[in-house]
Subunit: 336 residues, 2 copies
């Protein structure tokens, strides 16, 4: 069976998968990133992990993978195939595409983790059927992927979508990025955890505990939660005023609170919108496999747009997953 | 000589022009919109004005115009060719494309004024060579046009680019849109005029007078001006954090202050940016003819994408103005 290798490298964990031409997850494996071992060791682990998946696919399907896709955090130069910078992995200018290509012997696509996850949500997840969407995962931090006409807009330098760093509280907390009051400092899962640890006095508490306390009507939790929801609504309304998306797709750990988040969030956005068109606000559909599935889609797109041999001509791959017919830069082609 | 008819309908004045295949302004005429006469009278004036241009072109070039393009303010459904709403013209759901097409007997394209102006700045103005730009005219109000890969992003409902209505001062002045502290209430030419009338005590003073007073070192003017520049920088940094444009193109009446605006504005944006890539900040190149030239480009694009007879096949038009090779919605095709 024809398949590609997909990797999603996170600050704490790595996911690897074999993905079919229809975007199906054929096989998945996870392991710790082990960033404490340093950038070089992490890169070595990525290469080994990919190689193991390659071997598994060869054994299971009796044929080699056609290509590989890898999603990484931080700043990514997808066109040059270089992982430019990632604070949480401590790396700079890692030529990941070349390193993986040499190890695996197949074409490799490199993408930004959140935009790659957004690509998957758009094609096979919560964004299906929406010509314009904004994918916003609320996790340790907050990032965004702008979906336009089947592709993810990466911006002129690969920085587009950084909704977590728009300032919503000018006098707010200092952000790691150097600004104050960034959305990320107020509405990420980490921000809610910090606020709930303080309000509850429980040093072990986290955002999920806060959500449970909200559901059970704890007034302190409701206060903490509503402050995060209000900041999030402010940031989302700014984004939809500029972008006019048809759908807002909210993912990440905080979205696992379900209606405890979505009911007040929809109300807060509706309350703020005046002339703007109100997009639907929906939960992400692919959970934490979005990045890995997106990396698989990048690999299939690579085969469709840059066939490397007669067996990988688009006419032969003919994946069920629609490809963007759009020649504008996709996340796998962004110019830096 | 082959030409198209272009119209740009504003709240106070209308511009009409004959535009060549290379985007050249062959002939231009202006007159008052006369909105005080009511929406129906304005629509009649638009039709008459276009008809006069048609006759002029026929006489001057011995051939009829190939098509027409018209840019209007407010909410525009370019796909259906309907001017949905314009507060300053008091109209609702005017089927302008059909009305003009019937009067002129040629294919007609309808576009949103600012996005149409942005299309012109991008193709033949200050955006040339930039794959990503944001065009922000600072006039009576503030709007924006998001340029991506040769087209203007209109959003899911034709509302994209409304940077004038992102909230930069939550406790700020009430805005006509129903929100408080919109960028438009603080950094438009009208906002600066209001602030300078108050600070100078001169009821006749306007934003241009304020700029002159700033240049001559009047501390009251410098204070008023810097407040507008700071608000503008806050709004622009929010937009570039989300969009990562390569170039910020600032136009409208306020930009006529030249370096009195651009020097402090560049400094204020640089001061705010941390991890974001700093775009170049440049003045618009086409002045108040951008909308009219853009309307002409829409008309030429219409001929290139929807040839109506053997004389208007793209192969025959072969305009020197590059067309977007991009199948995504352009401002003349936005789905509502």
């Amino acid at each position: 069976m024809r398949h590609v290798i997909a990797l999603d490298v996170g600050g704490t964990g790595m996911k690897a998968a074999l993905v079919g031409a229809d975007g199906a997850l054929l096989h998945e494996a996870r392991r710790a990133t082990g960033r404490e071992r340093g950038a070089e060791a992490v890169v070595e682990s990525i290469l080994d992990f990919a190689d193991e998946l390659r071997a598994h696919g060869q054994e299971r399907y009796g044929q080699a993978a056609c290509a590989a896709g890898v999603a990484v955090p931080g700043i990514v130069d997808a066109e040059r195939g270089v992982a430019v910078y990632a604070a949480n992995l401590g790396w700079r200018d890692v030529p990941l595409r070349e390193l993986l290509g040499r190890r695996l012997g197949v074409p490799v696509a490199l993408g930004h983790d959140v935009r790659t996850g957004g690509l998957a949500e758009g094609r096979i997840g919560a964004g299906q059927g929406a010509d314009r969407f904004l994918f916003v995962p609320l996790g340790t931090g907050i990032a965004g992927a702008i979906g336009i006409g089947g592709t993810i807009e990466a911006g002129a330098h690969g920085y587009a979508g950084e909704i977590g760093h728009i300032v919503v509280r000018p006098q707010g907390p200092a952000c790691g990025c150097g600004q104050r009051g960034c959305l990320e400092t107020l509405a990420s899962a980490s921000a809610v955890t910090r606020a709930w640890v303080t309000a509850s006095g429980d040093p072990e508490a986290d955002a999920a505990d806060c959500a449970k306390a909200v559901a059970s009507g704890d007034p302190r939790a409701v206060r903490v939660w509503q402050e995060a929801v209000d900041a999030l609504a402010d940031g989302l309304v700014t984004a939809l005023t500029l972008l006019d998306p048809r759908r807002l797709i909210i993912g990440g750990g905080l979205a696992e609170a379900g209606e405890t988040l979505f009911t007040p969030l929809r109300a807060a956005v509706e309350e703020r919108v005046t002339f703007q068109k109100l997009p639907s606000i929906v939960p992400a559909a692919l959970g934490d496999t979005a990045g890995c599935l997106g990396a698989g889609l990048l690999a299939w797109d690579l085969l469709a747009t840059h066939p490397t041999d007669p067996d990988t001509r688009p006419s032969d791959t003919s994946p069920a997953v629609p490809h963007p017919t759009d020649p504008r830069p996709t996340d796998s082609e962004v110019s830096a």
